[in-house]
């Protein structure tokens, strides 16, 4: 055969990373966020350990505020793959009814996602967690290691990260420390879409344009996904929209689009003028905000 394509090389690297991670940890887990990156990561895991099932469960850190279509998609995964899916919801958030409308996006994200993730990892004693982060997503991620060591408090110390040479990853930890592993580190958004296209990987239909009920909030289209959203019925419009990233529906901006097919959205992305994370409310606070979140334990 001839030379490998960039997708073949990226795939081989991700598989290598996953096999190393599994071999050098006691209790690995794969974070599953239901988004397109998770879909790709899951497919790579199924490939890496074929014909065995991946020797780890999936973990969804739920906020109860995801799109309904995401929950439907997620709940089909164990049946489709044969893998175990653990769903964790921060009980404190349930008790206090934490939501983005009353508590704001920062508190909502911190309590449900950051704290929820720490709780789930601690409760199950996971010492290694795969995440779908990519270096091209955001400036501070460009320097993130593939194997990233977190303290027993799940903190990320940018000064104590280990150099990564050749294919050699050092996953050794002390008791209580854990490792976050990013098999998609070297993938770009375009690579992810190309791979989904080439491999025919199922994705949540929200990525494709369809008529959906939306309201405008701070210049962003927000989909009214259920009746928990405080809206005046008069302000809800139906528009042909899709989502470039998926998260909690009240915090995820929709874009107007006519792209109803996978190739259509890749085409739109290729001709797009703004970056993927722009639709995410959490990044907008200030330059460097993702970096702070990471130090606090956000994936």
């Amino acid at each position: 055969m001839g030379t490998l394509t960039h997708l073949q090389r990226l795939e081989a690297e991700s598989i290598h990373i996953m096999r190393e991670a599994v071999s050098e940890s006691e209790r690995p887990v794969m974070l599953y966020s239901v988004g397109k990156d998770s879909s790709v990561m899951l497919r790579l895991a199924l490939k890496a350990f074929h014909p065995s099932l991946p020797p780890f469960p999936l973990l969804h850190v739920d906020t109860t505020w995801k799109f309904q279509a995401m929950y439907e998609f997620r709940d089909a995964i164990p049946g489709l793959t044969g893998m175990e899916l653990i769903v964790h919801r921060n009980p404190e958030c349930i008790e206090r009814g934490i939501n983005p409308f009353d508590h704001g996006s920062a508190v909502h994200t911190d309590m449900w996602k950051t704290e929820g993730l720490k709780q789930a990892l601690d409760a199950h004693g996971f010492d290694l967690a795969f995440g779908g982060g990519r270096r091209d997503e955001e400036q501070s991620r460009a320097k993130e290691r593939v194997f990233s060591i977190r303290s027993s408090q799940h903190r990320w110390d940018p000064k104590a990260q280990r150099p990564e040479l050749w294919k050699l990853y050092n996953a050794r930890t002390h008791l209580g420390e854990s490792v976050r592993v990013f098999p998609l580190s070297n993938w770009t958004e375009l690579d992810v879409w190309q791979y989904i296209h080439a491999e025919d990987i199922p994705i949540v239909p929200l990525y494709l344009a369809a008529p959906r009920p939306v309201v405008e909030r701070d210049g962003v289209w927000i989909m009214v996904d259920d009746d928990r959203m405080p809206v005046d019925p008069a302000e809800v419009e139906e528009r042909q929209v899709r989502f470039r990233t998926l998260g909690c529906y009240p915090l995820t901006g929709a874009v107007e689009s006519t792209a109803t097919t996978l190739t259509g959205i890749i085409q739109e992305m290729l001709l797009a003028t703004s970056s993927e994370r722009q639709g995410r409310v959490i990044d907008h606070d200030a330059s460097g905000s993702m970096e702070r979140k990471k130090q606090e334990g956000y994936f």
Binding site: T5, K47, H50, A142, L190, I266
Partner: protein, 635 residues
Amino acid sequence: MAHATGDLAATDIEAYLAQHERKGLLRFITCGSVDDGKSTLIGRLLYDSKLVFEDHLAALEADSRRVGTQGGELDFALLVDGLAAEREQGITIDVAYRFFSTERRKFIVADTPGHEQYTRNMVTGASTADLAVILIDARKGVLTQTRRHSYLVSLLGIRHVVLAVNKLDLVGFDQSVFDAIVADYTSFAEQIGLDGVVPIPLSALLGDNITARSPETPWYTGPSLVEHLETVVVDDERSEGPFRLPVQWVNRPDLDFRGFAGPVVGGRVRPGDRVRVVPSGHDTDVARIVTADGDLDEAVAGQSVTLVLADEIDISRGDVIAAADDPPAVADQFECHLVWMATEELLPGRPYLLKIGTRTATATVARPKYAVNVNTLEHTAARTLGLNEIGVCNISLDRPVPFDPYEVNRDTGGFILIDKLTNATVGAGMLHFALRRADNVHWQAVDVDRDARARLSGHRPALLWFTGLSGSGKSTVANLVERELHALGHRTYLLDGDNVRHGLNRDLGFTEADRVENIRRVAEVARLMVDASLIVLASFISPFRAERQMARELLGEGEFVEIFVDSGLEAAEARDRKGLYAKARRGELVNFTGIDSPYEPPEAPELHLDSSGTVPPEELAATVVQHLRSAGVIP
């Protein structure tokens, strides 16, 4: 527009995808400092390949006004400077990876800083690069740092080098300036074994010869930088050479399937190929090459696959499956280049973990033969290596490992060293050759063995390791124990700091490195004596856990008895029989344990004795003897 798409993405997306799914991948590193315009070059590559989105661009414009160095003009360097703190300081202090793609290739750029603390970062970035772009400021020519970068590129085995002569706009695009720099550099590159250097005249700031040939340099007939990066052939090299697959994971879903998962890091393999499993040395045939997308007729370097073999052979993680007619060598002692990456210096003699391929072993590094001054390339004498230093050392492992010389295969010849206590990656190395000594020194099998000698002595051999501060009472207790054991008719020998330091170790001082070597020698001598069936009493401050652990690992199960003689610093200093604490307090004695050098107390000693003065030493000695009785060392 977001990507360098041409019109195809707009007019025929299916054709576009078909074309782009066949693209190749090139990983390269850029070497140079901010002053050479390195960040500007990378920013320019991202910008010209339309990878800068409008929201990024808006942030860039704002940043350019706030902290930019281009007088409010777009400062491309700001596109690639990562973490917030660094961005304010105007330097990058780590390796950052950037991505861009063109019609023909996807690129992964390792961006590393060019300032003094560069070695660790550059070596890291270079380890995965196929090509290096070495930047030179046309106004300054070949500088010390150019030599430094080029040496590291050559050390890491990068075979493709672009000499990017930048800022040519500032010398009026003068061909003679370019030619002089190229001639100067080429003669230097030949000395360090870099050949086939491709020189390109550039202005990263203005975009000349970046994506297309510039009208400003009509005298230049070679490719633009991007053209060269798109077309340079690198993939085939990986598939040349003999087949290698380090086993990562044994795949056993059920009793009927047993596969060996790993990356092909050299050559190619087909079903039916004869392979050898190293280090065990068994030969067999490849039965299947399994992937989730179906069995393959051939796998080449760069792929991750699972092999099923024709015969049932015991294979585990760390083994290498290799071409049977050209397998890797197996050895436990090597000469290597070692790059030190930690703030704590290398301690020759201390055991570290070494990871090569998928195998981890315990390694000790001998005192460096020499260090390399990366600025002058001179060899200098060295007792150790500090952060960012490079040396040539012998390294020995606790078990044989398969390897190829690094020059032949990076993935079977490159290794990292890990500190056993902190788990930090402290060094990276490149194996060159196995030392002949490993082949020639065979263990002499003997008829009279340890058990036979033990039967004759009437007791089991053991090493009693007394550790504690100077003045804690180690030697006092050890003396009493030896006297008691002798009275009971057992054969003993006492090693202590004083009798060893006057002879065997008189060449050693009290630096951290020398202390490690001191204990290593003592442990080895004690091991021989234990082998001779003695009960050895070693009384040494031995402040570092790692060395006590090393001594423990030299001996058999149950033979090492760690005795922590714990007086506390106050009691030890109050005794101060030799007046050493007083001297240390006055600053006349440096590296004194407990004062200006740390003591790491044992975490799980066999015995922990309170020698602060509340219990008489005779009673402490009796505790030790009682322990030996209950442990079955003496009857």
